[in-house]
Amino acid sequence: MNRFSYTRASAVPQAIDQHRANGTAAFIAGGTNLVDLLREDVAHPAVLVDINRLPLRKIEATDAGGLTIGALVTNSALAYDDTVAARYPLLAKAILAGASAQIRNVATVGGNLLQRTRCHYFYDAGTPCNKREPGTGCPALEGVNRIHAILGASEQCIAVHPSDMCVALAALDAKVHVAGGNGTRTLPFADFHRLPGDTPHIDSNLRDDELITAIELPKEGFAAPHAYVKVRDRASYAFALVSAAVGLELEGDTIVNARCALGGVAHKPWRDAEAEAVLRGKRLEAAAVRDFAAMLLRGAHGRRDNAFKIELAARVIARAFELATQRSFEETAS
């Protein structure tokens, strides 16, 4: 494993100061991704700033009727929290669809947002990778790219963000609270992660000296018709090939409001407000869902091994709408 020195922080400003005092510092919380990156020579911070003693482990109601989730709340604590399970079941289900129980017991909310891609080439320090070493190239473009992006990719990087939790947080319009040397700010979830573009080494819009302190959920949790559908290569403990988080508000058969975020297809959870807007006022039926999927997936581009994801994504969306509404959108032979 890479060598580093270690320091502990007991307050948020102290953690930020300790991080800023060292050019190549990294915060460590659960460490379930970072320790592996250190071991694989992908991450090489000179200093680890341990933030586990910061007071960021609470789940609290907000004045606006939502919830604030401290950045150090573990995946397990969040998924099994009574309020979250009752009011934000989409989030609970997405979390429990990810990782293993051992990892969920340790991995934190903040770390979930900041985990790195599981692209094979990113993890293999013996190969070029624009995300790991900018300017060296991207072997995935013409290489083994079954798990890679079909939306929003660039010629520099076709990696996907691996999180399930983030797909639900995107669908729920969560906010990310951060603290840094210049004070605090709040980012809409959609603005937190980035597309690779020409800077694939930068995963998010978090600044170097900033620390995620909390995730805020709005009052509306889409607890009624909702579904998280994840397709992967084995029944459990695998990253998504494609996943979909769907939350609906219905009046009878009419869609009042629809949310749909995709995982496993892009460098960030994939949502399209324009496509969702088209669903509003539509009758809930197969054609509407099919048209929605086509619009959400417009511009999708498959490569040698991952072109199947385009059709798979359309089917996963349809399945999620079916499961959410307990209906069948199977085409009936006429």
Binding site: M1, N2, D36, R39, L48, A99, S100, I103, N105, Y237
Partner: protein
């Protein structure tokens, strides 16, 4: 006479100044250690405590062979830095039995022939014990899903599930036992 020496990883460790003092309660005994910042709990258990029951399988958190119970929760000790968990209470496979009386889960694994080579077994058993404490298991499907972080390359899964259901006093639909028939 000069005797050639073979350097071990511990010999190559940094000076005392770079080590950190940590304290753990391991299987009921309080123990003090001096570790490097990058020492994992797994290496601490195996190399510093000589508790080799906890296994190093993949060393990436993918196989679960390194599972131990830390502060009451099952975790992958290969992904845990010792300094981060300073002060924790750790239970390993060596700490489950009460003297010569095996833990219910250990006995169930024997009764159901729930292993072949045995390499994954300490992790399976620690994971299963902590899983039942978590309180989310109601049926065989729950066991399969919530034990998915423990791989068994011998493929003893059927009997592992049976052993855990037995220890949990839950019916096993695969084996048509009393609970399943009723």
């Amino acid at each position: 006479m000069n005797t050639p020496t073979i350097e071990t990883p511990l010999d190559l460790a940094p000076s005392e100044a770079e080590r950190m003092a940590v304290t753990f309660e391991v299987n009921g005994k309080t123990r003090h250690f001096e570790v490097e910042a990058w020492t994992t709990l797994l290496d601490l258990l195996r190399e510093h405590c000589q508790l080799s029951g906890t296994k190093k399988g993949c060393d990436h958190g993918q196989c679960g062979a390194c599972t131990a119970i830390v502060d009451g929760r099952r975790i992958n000790t290969c992904l845990a830095l010792a300094v981060v968990h300073d002060g924790a209470t750790i239970t390993t496979i060596e700490g489950l039995a009460d003297g010569d009386t095996l833990h219910t889960m250990q006995q169930a694994f024997i009764d159901h022939d729930a292993f072949q080579c045995g390499y994954c077994t300490p992790g399976q058993i620690c994971s299963a014990v902590a899983m039942l404490d978590e309180g989310h298991v109601k049926c065989a499907d729950d066991v399969r899903e919530l034990m998915s972080g423990n791989l068994c390359r011998c493929g003893a899964y059927t009997n592992i599930v049976a052993a855990i259901l037995d220890a949990a006093d839950l019916p096993d639909p695969q084996h048509g036992d009393e609970g399943a028939r009723s």
